[in-house]
Every structure is written in C-alpha cells, then in structure tokens.
C-alpha cells in the first residue's frame, strides 16, 4: 500500500532569517514540487540551498511562510506524519569515519526498523546499483569522495523514502563519479519519489526534470530546464547565471 503513496510539496512565501543583522537566508520563496520528478535546486554558494533543504527536512523552523507536504493530495497537518517518509542526506560530512559501509547499513537499517528480509533485499539492490559491494568492510573515513556520497545516499535510501532530499550530493566529486551519481538518481525516478537535489554545478541543471534557480535567498526562475534556456536566450545555465549576475550589477 505504502508503495503507492504520493507526496508533493508546496512552499508559500517561505522566509528564513538566522539573525536580525544578517541578510535573509531565504525570502519569499513560493514553489510547487510535483511527485515523481527530479527537482534541481540550483544556485551558487550562499544561495540558500542548504537552508532550504534543512527547512524541508524539519531541521529548521521557517521564520515566515509555510511548507506543506501533501500525501495523496491531502495536506499533512503535522510534520511528524511526513517525517517517516522523508530521507535526507546532508551536505556536510555526516557519516562515522570509523564505521565500515556494512556497519553503517546495519545501523541505519535498525533505526528504520527494517525486517531482516527487507534489509537483505534492499542492501543487495542498493549495493549493486552503487557498485559499493566490494568495499563493505572499508571504513567511511577511507572512502573516496564519490563513494562517500554514495554511501550517504544508500543510507538515506534504505528507508524507502517517498521524499528524498539530497543536499549537494555531487559536491567535490570528480566528473565521472558525478555522472554515475546522476545515473543512479535517474534509476530511482521510476520509484515514484519526490526527489530534490541541490547543486552548485550549473551544468547539472540540465539533468533535472525541473530546475529551480536560486540566488542570494531568492528564487530566480523555475521550470523545465530546456524551456528556461530558450526563454532567457542562454545557451547553457552557466551563461544564464552570468547574465543574471551582470544585470544585478547594472
């Protein structure tokens, strides 16, 4: 039954400020995220990507505005009802350096209360698509950047989430591993999950089904990547951002 649950997300005039003196981390963000799509949160440093992700994961409370998750079209009244459906992968290193891949999976499978058979099946599948199977005993502290991110992803995916929040999963990863990582994300698209991926690599916008461009806490554009490029007469997203930055200076 759970497998048919659809979760969508609507933000209304979302605002977050950490202190009165600082500029708003996020201001006036209204957005709708549809089910089953790969949404890219694209923006340079300090665009508010991490703040947005943390707000969506319930780790921060909004200063103004609302975040509403809808489960099968019904708006969830409390965050606690959606919490079990969300998997979140922080941008910061957040795994245990001294624990091996196997130990991470064991630990998280118990936190998510997977039955042994569920766990076994998930573990096999996730390890095969990430190709981490050969490194089970390697501690997280000794994994390469790309492998580390993949481990973070499988820890998040162990729980069969309906909402997947990935905060800069490809940051600091080499181009080949990045491509692999995106292919991994594509393969998850069929599973009907709402996927939000933030990134500072502009070229990655083209890989998303919807791109949401942020700058200094504000939403610039939002839409299907190819249409956005046509509309703003840019050949790629790098150009689009540079144009945008020039306009602001003028």
């Amino acid at each position: 039954m759970k497998t048919h649950t659809n979760v969508s997300l609507t933000l209304q005039n979302l605002e977050k400020n950490f202190s009165k003196v600082q500029a708003l981390a996020l201001s006036g963000v209204s957005l709708h995220f549809e089910v089953g799509m790969l949404h890219g949160i694209i923006g340079p440093e300090a665009a508010g990507k991490t703040t947005l992700m943390r707000l969506l994961a319930g780790l921060l409370a909004p200063s103004k505005g609302t975040i509403s998750y809808s489960i099968d079209g019904v708006v969830a009244s409390e965050f606690e009802t959606v919490r079990p459906l969300i998997a979140y992968m922080p941008e910061r290193q957040s795994l245990y350096a001294d624990l091996s891949i196997k130990e991470h999976l064991d630990f998280f499978s118990k936190l998510y209360e997977l039955t042994p058979s569920e766990y076994k099946e998930k573990q096999e599948r996730l390890l095969s698509i990430t190709r981490l199977g050969g490194f089970l005993e390697r501690p997280a502290g000794k994994l390469s950047g790309g492998m580390y991110k993949k481990l973070g992803l499988i820890c998040a995916l162990l729980r069969s989430p309906k909402v997947l929040l990935l905060d800069e999963p490809t940051n600091g990863v080499d181009p080949i591993s990045r491509r692999e990582f995106w292919e991994l994300l594509y393969s998850l698209r069929q599973e009907n999950i709402l996927m939000l991926v933030s990134t500072a690599y502009m070229d990655e916008a083209e890989r998303c089904s919807r791109a949401h461009l942020f700058q200094e806490g504000k939403l610039l554009f939002s839409g299907i990547p190819s249409e956005l490029l046509v509309k703003h007469r840019a050949k790629d997203f790098n150009e689009l951002f540079i144009k945008q930055a020039e306009q602001r200076v003028c």
Binding site: L59, P90, R92, L95, E103, F107, L111, C155
Partner: protein
C-alpha cells in the same frame, strides 16, 4: 521509545569505543590509576610533626619525657636547644611546635607538685595542630602514669572505642570516598563527549532526520558506558580491597546496585552537558566544573556536610556523589543492610530520572 533503535545506537557506540582505545583506557585504567595515586598521596593521618625541644631541666625525668615524644612516632624531634624566642624559632626553622621543659620539672615532680610544661605551637596550620593536640593529650596521660608514679585516678573516666574503624585509619575513610570522586569524573567525561562529538562531526544532522527520538538516543548512549563503568567499579573495588586492605562488611549486591545508579547518574549528567554544549571543548570544561569541583568539595569527601552552612547542606542533595559516598562508606565499614541505605539509593534513583528527563527536554530535534 523503540528498544531496537536504542540497542542499535548502543551497539554503534560500543563499536566506536572498541575502535578508540583511548576511551577504554580512560574509562577503565584511569580510575584505578587515580585511586592508587591519590590513595597513597592523600593520607589524612598526621605523622611526623616536627617539633623542637628546649630542655631546661636536663634531668632524668625530662629525658624520660623527651623519649615519650620520641616513641610516639607522631612527633619528630627536629631540634634540641635553648631558645629565648620560640616564635622566631618556629618561623625560621620550619617546625610546628616547641616544647619547653622548665628547669624545676623534676624537682616539682618529686615534691608532688604539678610541673608546668609549655607547648608553643604554630596555629596557622589547623590540619596539623588538631591532631597534634590530641597526640599531646595521649603523651600527657602516659607521662602521668610513668613519671608521676602515684597513679592518677580520676573519678570519671571516659574510655573511647572507635567502631567500624578501630585504628582510625584514614585510608578506610579516604579510599571509598576517592572511589566515588574518580568514578564520577570519568563517567561524566565519557558521555559529555559523545553527543557533542555527533554534533561536531555532522552525524547529528543525519541522525535527526531519522525516526530516532531523543530518549532512544540518550539511553542508547548511556548504556554501553554504564557497562564499561561497572568494569571500572570492579577494578577499583579490587584495588581498594587488595591494594589498600579496606574491609568490606556490607552486601555486595547493594553495592553493585548503588554503583550502577551512581554511574548512570553521572553519565546522564554528562549527556545533559553534551546536549547543551554541542562542542567537545565546551562540554569538557562544563564537565570539569560541574562534575569535578562539587564532587571533590561538596560531596562530603573532604569536608563534612554537617559542618557546612545550611544552604550548602541542602545543595549537596543534588549531587549523586554525596549519596553514593554515604552508601559506600556504610557498606565498606559497617555490616549494613537495605534499611541503612535505602534513602540514599532512592535519592540516586530520583537524580537519574530527573537528569534523563532534563536531557530529553533539552534535546532539540532542530539544528538551531
């Protein structure tokens, strides 16, 4: 509250501990080391009090008196001579007292009169002076018996017998107390660092996004450390019994129960610190200030609680060490049963419940 998740957290913590020998050493070897070290150094029995003797009589009786001081082993005769200014002598020669035997000492004894002996003591160090005066009293009694042969028969005689610690050995008193101080410090430090470490290395952000609730996390963190703590208790206990020859006259089961409640109370206090501090360096300092100082000074280990001002007497009630010390001193030295220790046990239990609840309340599921 899900037991499976709590177990998973405890198991994960145990894995960290296994991989980090420093924690194990700190938890198990440190307490034994500290108890041995302080047990040897902290001897409250005052011995070898340095005195000077000014024998102006130079008679058979005065020499007998001097030999009494010699034999007592409490005093060391550092100097003998004749001084006109005793005070300067005490100040300059680093001696605690000067005994002046007057020139008519023997004459008066023979006449049956009471001779006057002067004992000039350095009053600036109470720790030495108190015991010195009581030793002096003992010598005075001996002197009456040996020198003034007409045996002195007072009408009322007080005979003192010390129960539980017949020879008033201070190690009997110190080592059990030391045990509580050492275990307190080690256990508070152990947990103070664990949750703040999760904040510091970013794993808390991930943990918070899982279904784990604060209570599972807190109890899961305390559990493995309480097992390690009990191992430390065992070693410290053996050190006290075998190394310091401390008797144990109470019930071992109650002792273990008390140790467990005591450890968990400090582990819980460490957890509260860890939750509030969010950084290991701050947690460390808070642990030292809130754990070390009160346990050392206010638990009754060094200063007796009954002689503290009323406010502090009540204040000590929130310190687990105060109650544990009461239990431990009772169990080691007296044949005490449950009736003698139920109230401090209950107090420990209450402190545990309060601290775990504080930890749970203070624990926020957000990053702010």
């Amino acid at each position: 509250m899900n037991l499976g998740r709590m177990r998973a957290i405890a198991f994960k913590e145990a894995t960290h501990i296994r991989r980090d020998p420093f924690t194990l050493i700190m938890a198990i070897i440190m307490p034994v080391f500290l108890v041995v070290l302080f047990g040897l150094a902290l001897d409250l029995d005052v011995k070898n009090i340095k005195i000077g003797i000014d024998d102006r009589d130079q008679s058979y009786s005065s020499r007998r008196l001097i030999s009494l001081f010699h034999e007592s082993r409490s005093f060391i005769i550092a100097k003998q001579g004749h001084w006109s200014d005793a005070e300067r002598e005490i100040r300059d020669e680093n001696i605690s007292a000067i005994l002046v035997i007057p020139h008519d000492f023997e004459k008066k004894i023979k006449k049956g009169e009471a001779p006057l002996i002067q004992f000039v003591a350095d009053g600036s160090d109470n720790a030495i002076l108190g015991p010195a005066l009581s030793y002096l009293y003992g010598i005075q009694l001996q002197m009456r018996q040996q020198l003034i042969e007409t045996s002195f028969q007072p009408k009322v005689k007080i005979e003192t017998r010390y129960l539980y610690n017949g020879e008033l050995k201070s190690s009997y008193f110190i080592v059990p107390g030391l045990m509580s101080v050492v275990l307190a410090i080690v256990s508070i430090l152990l947990t103070a660092l664990t949750i703040s470490r999760e904040w510091e290395n970013g794993s808390m952000e991930l943990l918070l996004s899982t279904p784990t609730n604060p209570l599972e996390l807190i109890l899961g963190k305390i559990l493995p450390y309480s097992i390690i703590g009990m191992l430390a208790v065992l070693l410290v206990y053996l050190t006290a019994r075998l190394g310091f020859d401390i008797p144990f006259r109470g019930n071992h089961l109650f002792f273990l129960l008390a140790c467990f409640l005591f450890l968990t109370a400090y582990l819980a206090q460490g957890t509260v610190i860890s939750i509030v501090a969010r950084s290991q360096a701050v947690a460390m300092q808070m642990a030292m200030v809130s754990g070390f100082l009160p346990t050392m000074l206010l638990s009754g280990f060094i200063f007796s609680i009954s002689s503290m001002p009323p406010f502090f007497q009540y204040f000590t009630m929130i310190l687990p060490a105060r109650w544990f010390l009461q239990i431990v001193r009772t169990l080691f030295l007296k044949e005490a049963g449950f009736m003698e220790i139920w109230s401090p046990l209950l107090a420990l239990l209450l402190i545990n419940l309060v601290l775990v609840n504080v930890a749970r309340k203070k624990f926020k599921r957000t990053l702010e």
